[in-house]
């Protein structure tokens, strides 16, 4: 038995108080200013009730941003998991131990890069005139290819960078997860003449269902942080084709009109939606 000690209280109280203050004060303040009409140029403002929220629902740019954000979530989460599972299985199946060690390090490079760097590196690679990726297209057709300026391809191109960062990283995790599995079920399946892909589809992946769901959950949260990539690569453009919710809130609060209260009401809605959705998912996933 442990003796009674002051340690837990001493060790836990200060950090938890700090976290609580740093998290709750901004949250409460966001809710408070979202009920006012404060602007950057006019510090006081007055109480306007739900006016900001009501305005949001007739704001077509807001509706567009909701759509872009949802599309972004679905595309990046799905593709990341797909890339991770395929590459993770290939690593497990075909790479020797030494190759795995080297490839693990290599696959970690994209996710460790600052997103500003990743965004710039790819933005330059996709440059219509000097980009190395668009070069073959330009050489064959004689036309420059400008994927970031076309509403049809811009979001997909930015999403590619996100999947490049996270898909390769998650592939390493899928490999580590496969390495933790006991070998017996694999051997049993092999004895039953299961094909290679059948072993993964019906034996290995179902055994990893819980961690894979956790990975999906983590990626859903991280995909909310799309801002850096979009800010550097397209600034929400062309037009509003890649304007996610955080991008729109940022431009309302800072660039265009300094409507802090209006931007706050968006932030509060985002906070509500993500907290509710993720808490529900988390409680379901973790028994």
């Amino acid at each position: 038995m442990k003796p009674r000690t002051s340690l837990p209280a001493v060790f836990l109280a200060p950090p938890l108080v700090i976290l609580a203050v740093l998290a709750f004060v901004p949250t409460a303040y966001a809710i408070y200013i979202s009920f006012r009409n404060r602007e950057l140029s006019r510090p006081d403002g007055s109480f306007v009730g739900l006016a900001n929220y009501i305005d949001l629902f007739s704001d077509r740019r807001f509706i567009n941003a909701v759509g872009v954000s949802l599309t972004w979530e679905v595309i990046t989460v799905t593709l990341t998991l797909l890339v991770a599972i395929v590459l993770g299985i290939l690593l497990f199946e075909f790479a020797s131990m030494r190759q795995r060690a080297v490839l693990t390090l290599v696959f970690l490079v994209p996710v460790i890069l600052p997103r500003v760097s990743a965004a710039f590196v790819w933005k330059f690679a996709f440059h219509p005139l000097y980009g190395i990726i668009t070069y073959p297209y330009k050489m064959i057709t004689g036309q420059p290819l400008d994927v970031l300026s076309s509403p049809a391809t811009a979001l997909m191109t930015v999403a590619l960078v996100d999947v490049w960062q996270w898909g390769l990283f998650f592939a390493v995790i899928v490999l580590k997860l496969l390495e933790t599995l006991p070998p017996q079920p694999f051997e049993a399946a092999r004895l039953d003449h299961a094909r290679r892909w059948e072993i993964y589809a019906y034996v290995a992946l179902p055994m990893l269902k819980a961690p894979l769901i956790s990975l999906t959950f983590i990626k859903m949260i991280e995909s909310l942080r799309a801002f850096d990539l979009i800010y550097v690569m397209t600034r929400g453009g062309p037009g509003i084709a890649t304007e996610t919710l955080d991008m729109y809130a940022f431009s309302q609060g800072f660039i265009e009109s300094g409507r802090i209260s209006y931007a706050s009401s968006m932030a509060v809605l985002m906070m509500l939606a993500t907290t509710v959705i993720f808490t529900v998912i988390w409680k379901r996933v973790k028994p």
């Binding site: 340690l7 303040y29 590459l87 075909f94 790479a95 970690l108 890069l113 985002m270």
Partner: protein, 270 residues
């Protein structure tokens, strides 16, 4: 070598190539004169120049950004570690009926959209007169580092064999001495990984820094992104050089971070 093996390996090598080539290409371009970058065909052979790096490092804004980044990341990581590591230990070793809730609370901070935190914080720091200062940036980043270090520290401390701590207690160590002299050194490898991760997270952070700073406290990612938004006559070489500079510190920590990953999974399988 059969077909599927060849195909599988090819895909792996292609993925590995895609992981490093963009950054390598950026680094190559950082050594080019502008005329060698703005060519109709990408150039692999050229006369290298150090002008870009000299220009970037000689710029006041970059130097200031570097100092701000180091102070903001260093300060918040230091506070995060000093407060977070003991907290993680307490959660791992002295479970009580709120432990699960505390862990969930710490995790749930990650659910908050950064923009939702940054907008009110900007107003708060403006009202308090601390807007665009390193102080406000360090305090804000502490929210990130503290939560991350607690979250990653709990499993690291939980992996310390309980018997060792019991033995130390029998030898007359008090609870604080057990933490400082036994648990902390044994878990140090994983803990260094956790701290390194928190550092990279803050070093790379962009949105909060963008909203909380305008000139005095601007961090390196903001300075670099401003360079990327320059007008028509883009100084591409300088841009590439500043991106390389920004990316070096996280890349230096890649070994420690992959060690953290390995530790987390190795123990689980035993």
């Amino acid at each position: 070598m059969n077909v599927s093996r060849f195909l599988g390996k090819s895909i792996l090598y292609l993925a590995a190539f895609s992981a490093v080539f963009p950054m390598v290409w950026t680094a190559i371009n950082a050594f080019k004169n502008r005329v060698d970058i703005v060519t109709p065909t990408p150039l692999f052979l050229f006369t290298p120049t150090l002008d870009n790096f000299a220009y970037v490092l000689g710029r006041e804004s970059v130097a200031a950004g570097l100092v701000n980044s180091l102070l903001a990341a260093g300060g918040s990581v230091l506070i995060g570690a000093l407060l977070g590591l003991p907290a993680a230990y307490a959660i791992a070793r002295y479970p009580n009926r709120w432990s699960a809730d505390i862990q969930f609370f710490v995790l749930s901070l990650r659910f908050l959209p950064p923009v939702a935190v940054a907008i009110p914080l900007m107003v708060i720091w403006l009202d308090l007169g601390f807007y665009d200062t390193r102080f406000s940036l360090i305090v804000t980043y502490t929210l990130l580092t503290l939560a991350t270090i607690i979250w990653l520290g709990v499993p690291a401390f939980a992996r310390v064999p309980k018997e060792v701590e019991e033995a130390a207690r029998v030898d007359g160590y008090g609870p604080y001495a057990v933490f400082l002299r036994v648990a902390l050194p044994i878990a140090s490898r994983s803990l260094i990984g956790a701290v390194a991760f928190a550092f990279v997270l803050v070093w790379n952070e962009f949105l909060i820094a963008l909203m909380l700073t305008t000139s005095d406290a601007k961090t390196l990612p903001i300075v670099a992104s401003e360079l990327t938004q320059l007008g028509r006559d883009v100084p591409w070489g300088i841009l590439n050089a500043s991106v390389v500079l920004l990316s070096i510190p996280p890349l230096l920590l890649i070994g420690i971070l992959s060690g953290l990953l390995n530790n987390a999974f190795r123990r689980k399988s035993n």
